[in-house]
Amino acid sequence: MRNINFGYGISRPRVINMDNNDLRKSNAIIAEMPELQACIGCGSCTASCTAGNLTDFNFRKLHTSVRRGEYKGAYEELSKCMLCGKCRLVCPRGINTRGLVMLIKRKLGDF
């Protein structure tokens, strides 16, 4: 078995001050896809990810950061996604992850 980065690991200690983060885009994303709040952060999306299997790409980490208002580099990172849709099939909360990828890109990028 190949080593798959499930998105768990030792992260460097850091502090996010939510008061300093601009949550407008994050709120807009959640408003359009409220089911995202049902995410339990299990990481199944990342584990099944076709792109994540080939390169350093972690969808769980990414949408969690975006929800917290950490948008830096998120759009570029999301461009690695191939939109194959496996994550949607494995999501135990039934979140429309493909729609979410497109939604985040639309809100953060140059659509």
Partner: protein, 600 residues
């Protein structure tokens, strides 16, 4: 000049103005659309125009634009309703023209002279043999009126005419529709009044006219006679003015569309001027509404092809409507105009694509995790990696057949690109396609087998793999059985087969899977099957509906499969398999699984 004055009456003005407006508006549209065609399309026209295709197109115009054979095939009552209006009206015009020519000779008669002949020449009624025309025209008018009656009735009770739902119309459609409904009753009234005043008339106008002459005083008749003709002319005028902006533009758009199609113009992944012909050829008949499972199962009433085309035509298409489609192709299979609904939906999404930046998918460079040495390549596909049983079964079958196989993506591979294409990012998808194509070329495979119909379709349509035969695993297994390379044993298990959209309507593969199932057990067909098969609801083309909605579609469709009383549900798509498995009460298997199980 005298002729024109002879055939002039003030009441004809609305009709004449309306007709002129119609010809100018339609002419401008046609010329603009044709001028804006890209050079490749113009070349196709130049190549096609002097070939047999043009004659075939003429025949198709007669069949489809006049007789409407395809609507008849879909539903005879609807077909009669439409043909009685369209073909009946055409005959009224044609016979009316012959009528005037017979009685006035070849002299020039202005348009309104033909249309309002009865008004201008009531004295002809006394001529010899004229009764033949009177009876004929009355019969035609009666046929058209029967169509109008059916159309009225359809608005009240659409189910009686075989449609559960009919289209909700926009303002221009309502204006044009109302005007059209009034045209023929108005004609009946105007002609009957003329008969009442001057005599003559066929079985219809003659009887009504005679009756009117008896019960209505002569001075009242003289008073309403002129206004009746005014009303008829106004109804025609309003209809013609509204026509280019309403659904009735389809009457005049379908004709050039048929020609262009015969000259092999097609809509493409990118929007082109040709699309205008397809979009405006939609008559908004609403036949696409009933087959749509988003309507039937989820009650969504704004996203069906008829509304999508309407929104696109009037430039009010929202991202949500464009994306909210399973692209299962059930409506496309039923469209009486033969509009390429899926392609148009796809290129509506393409307009909104982001431009892929240079570095996008750079990580794909040099990726090769394939294994094996065979000339037969097996591309499982992303979804198949979530159904490992399918992959294992295929390996078993390959082994049993003694096939040496090159496994393209057993240890992870690059997506085929179709999911990205389906969401309109055509340019970005191309990077994935190039990566996979390079891989296939590098390993010099001659046959490419895939277990995923989504991949299959894009391999066939976009990859241009000359020299490589692209097969779905059902076709491949079918071939192995036919060649005697594997001999699965047959038992009495009752199977029912679900046609995956991309495999059936998408690639036209219906028989191979059925032959394979027939070789291992008994096959029972569900109610909707083959070209009419239902979608599992999990289609990658739809990014709008949520999980619960997907499940509801899957449940309805699975219930139909289970109604056959089968032991096992069989499908040939890993995505359909997943969708059915969670809605079914009995096992859902891939064809590869049931074959592998029955190999000694």
């Amino acid at each position: 000049m005298d002729d024109i004055l002879l055939y002039f009456a003030p009441f004809t003005i609305p009709f004449v103005v309306g007709t002129l407006f119609l010809f100018i508006a339609v002419g401008v549209k046609w010329v603009l659309w044709l001028m804006r065609l890209p050079r490749v399309d113009k070349l196709l026209i130049r190549r096609g125009i002097f070939t047999r295709q043009t004659l075939i197109a003429v025949w198709e115009v007669i069949r489809e634009s006049l007789l409407h054979v395809r609507i008849f095939k879909h539903n005879p009552v609807l077909g009669y309703m439409h043909a009685s209006l369209a073909f009946g009206w055409f005959l009224l015009i044609a016979v009316g023209w012959i009528e005037t020519t017979v009685y006035l000779g070849a002299d020039f008669v202005p348009l309104q002279g033909h249309v309002f002949f009865k008004y201008f020449a009531p004295h002809l009624a006394l001529q010899e043999h004229y009764a033949v025309f009177e009876q004929l025209m009355d019969a035609l008018l009666l046929i058209v009126l029967s169509g109008v009656m059916l159309a009225w009735f359809k608005r009240l009770r659409s189910k009686a005419l075989g449609m559960r739902r009919t289209t909700k119309h926009v303002l221009f459609d309502r204006i044009a529709l109302s005007a059209l409904w009034f045209v023929f009753p108005a004609r009946l009234v105007a002609e009957s009044l003329t008969v009442a005043v001057y005599g003559g008339g066929g079985f219809l106008t003659g009887s009504i006219g005679g009756w009117l002459a008896e019960v209505v005083p002569a001075d009242v008749l003289a008073m309403v006679y002129e206004p009746a003709w005014w009303f008829y002319s106004c109804a025609l005028g309003v209809f013609f003015v509204a026509m280019p902006f309403s659904r009735y533009m389809h009457i005049l758009t379908e004709i050039p569309l048929i020609f262009l199609r015969r000259w092999s113009l097609r809509p493409n992944k990118e929007r082109r001027s040709y699309d205008n012909f397809e979009v405006e050829a939609c008559s908004r008949c609403g036949i696409c509404i009933d087959p749509c499972q988003l309507q039937a199962d989820l009650g969504l009433n704004d996203t069906q092809s008829v509304y999508f085309l309407r929104d696109r035509r009037y430039n009010m298409l929202s991202l949500k409507i464009a994306n909210n489609c399973l692209m299962c192709g059930r409506c496309e299979a039923k469209c009486p105009v033969g509009i390429n609904l899926n392609t148009l939906r796809l290129n509506s999404r393409a307009k909104r694509r982001n431009i892929p930046h240079e570095g996008r998918y750079r990580y794909l460079q040099g990726i090769d995790r394939s294994s094996g040495m065979g000339k037969v390549g097996y591309f499982a596909g992303c979804m198949t990696s979530l159904t490992p049983a399918v992959q294992r079964s295929m390996e078993r079958i390959f082994e049993a057949a003694g096939e040496e196989v090159w496994y393209a993506d057993r240890d992870g591979g690059v997506c085929c690109g179709r999911p990205l294409m389906l969401s309109g990012e055509t340019d970005a998808a191309r990077k994935m396609m190039e990566s996979n194509r390079a891989l296939f070329r590098k390993h010099e495979i001659t046959t490419l087998v895939t277990s995923c119909p989504i991949c299959l379709k894009v391999f066939k349509e976009e990859y241009h793999l000359e020299g490589v035969e692209v097969l779905h695993h059902t076709e491949y297994i079918d071939r192995l059985i036919a060649e005697g390379r594997i001999t699965p044993k047959s038992d009495n298990t009752a199977y029912t087969y679900h046609d995956p959209c991309e495999l059936g309507r998408g690639c036209g593969i219906y028989d191979a899977p059925r032959r394979v199932i027939g070789a291992v057990g008994k096959l029972a067909e569900p109610k909707h099957t083959r070209r009419d098969a239902l979608c599992c609801g999990s289609s990658l083309a739809n990014t709008v509906i949520n999980d619960g909605q997907q499940l509801r579609i899957a449940q309805r469709m699975t219930a139909e499969l289970e109604a056959t009383g089968c032991d096992t549900i069989v499908t040939a798509c890993p995505l359909c398999n997943k969708a059915i498995a969670r809605a079914a009460t009995r096992p859902a298997r891939d064809i590869a699984e049931i074959v592998a199980k029955n190999i000694e």
